[in-house]
């Protein structure tokens, strides 16, 4: 428990410095949630790689493209996409709810309420998604 030491003198304090464990983010759910949010970047990276792969397959020719599409339809690929989508939605929702803290918008001298900024983010998200769907569905007809 305790051991006598000689380094301490009355006029020279001996501070005790604590080390931070590498598992600090598992000590509390609050920090685990934060690290999960940071890790969602891996999902973003996954989608970027899949898209790049698609472009590369397209450039290689119809054969390679067909093989790539076949892989995309495989259960493993669908499973990975579902996991990545979950984390990306988690990322988007948590960031939208943090946005009002970073964005201070004043209208007529009054600070806009947090809910207005969160709603604006959701609206922009839905509008962008809607536009993308329209573009894709129009192209597939």
């Amino acid at each position: 428990m305790s051991a006598p030491t000689t380094a301490y003198t009355r006029h020279h304090p001996r501070w005790y410095r604590r080390r931070v464990s590498v598992w600090w983010w598992l000590e509390s759910w609050r920090y685990t949630r934060f690290v999960l949010r940071e890790l969602t970047s891996l999902s973003v990276g996954f989608f970027a790689l899949v898209t790049l792969g698609l472009v590369a397959a397209l450039a290689e020719g119809p054969g390679a493209y067909a093989i790539y599409l076949h892989w995309l339809r495989s259960p493993l690929s669908i499973f990975l996409h579902c996991v990545a989508l979950f984390f990306i939605v988690y990322h988007a929702v948590t960031w939208f709810h943090l946005a009002p803290r970073a964005m201070v918008v004043r209208l007529g001298g009054q600070r806009l309420p947090d809910s207005a900024i969160i709603a604006a983010n959701y609206l922009a998200w839905f509008a962008a998604s809607g536009a993308l769907f329209w573009l894709l569905l129009r192209g597939s007809q």
Binding site: Y8, P13, Y16, W25
Partner: protein
């Protein structure tokens, strides 16, 4: 006989302890007693050598910040009855990440050094003559920075910030919020100097927006918000000086 509650208090007496240990005390559980009252009871009745900081007992001085059950709290505003249901003793520890001097007392030297660096006062290039009167401010101008001026330097935000633990050089939530408080004050002219300091390696970009600093703040200062707003301002400033180099600052 009054009902009792157990407190598990961190003890560190550098003249005899190589590392902190814990000591458990039984304290009367009273409705109107805070954790600080319990510590005062221990010091009065059980062990006069217990060391901790406190002063005002009403959430203004910011001295009595400690970890209660692992969460940064002002002990004068943390009531024992809120922990009455738990079976384990209430853990009272010194603020996380700071070096411990003795028992529950931590060393604030490093924080005070960082605080001084951001010049938390009104920086005025040239004082105007007295005859011209006072520096006036409208309620709307006051509103710009008022929230950030509520900081009482209790350092709960530092104990909640894992970045402080991992990167001890980081200026930290309260210091950056105070830098922003003065930047947003229309009487101040030091924003340029503070921006330079706050965009250095140990400044705003170290913050990963964990957001816990704002959750533990007893004064609703929202230091996490202050840092993110500062990041946007710094990014816009960098973009502006890149696109319009002649209009720097």
């Amino acid at each position: 006989m009054a009902e009792l509650i157990q407190l598990e208090v961190t003890r560190y007496q550098p003249e005899r302890d190589a590392a902190p240990r814990t000591e458990t005390f039984d304290v009367p559980l009273r409705d109107d007693w805070t954790v600080l009252d319990a510590l005062n009871y221990i010091k009065d009745r059980e062990d006069g050598s217990l060391a901790y900081r406190w002063s005002c007992r009403m959430g203004v001085c910011g001295s009595c910040g400690m970890m209660v059950n692992g969460y940064p709290k002002l002990t004068c505003a943390t009531f024992l009855v809120d922990y009455a249901e738990q079976r384990e003793p209430v853990r009272v520890e010194p603020l996380a990440y700071f070096p411990i001097i003795r028992d529950l007392v931590v060393d604030l030297t490093d924080f005070l050094h960082k605080l001084r660096k951001v010049k938390p006062w009104l920086v005025v290039e040239k004082e105007k003559p007295l005859a011209e009167g006072e520096y006036k401010q409208t309620p709307a101008q006051l509103e710009q920075y008022k929230q950030f001026s509520m900081c009482i330097n209790c350092l709960l935000c530092y104990a909640a910030c894992p970045v402080i633990g991992l990167e001890p050089g980081f200026l930290g939530p309260a210091v950056i919020a105070l830098a922003r408080r003065y930047n947003l004050d229309n009487r101040d002219q030091g924003a340029g100097e503070r921006l330079e300091l706050c965009t250095e390696r140990d400044g705003i970009w170290q913050c990963t927006f964990v957001g816990e600093c704002s959750k533990v703040c007893p004064k609703n200062v929202d230091p996490a918000g202050a840092i993110q707003q500062y990041k946007i301002e710094a990014a816009l400033h960098a973009l502006k000086s890149f696109l319009l180099p002649w209009s720097a600052r």
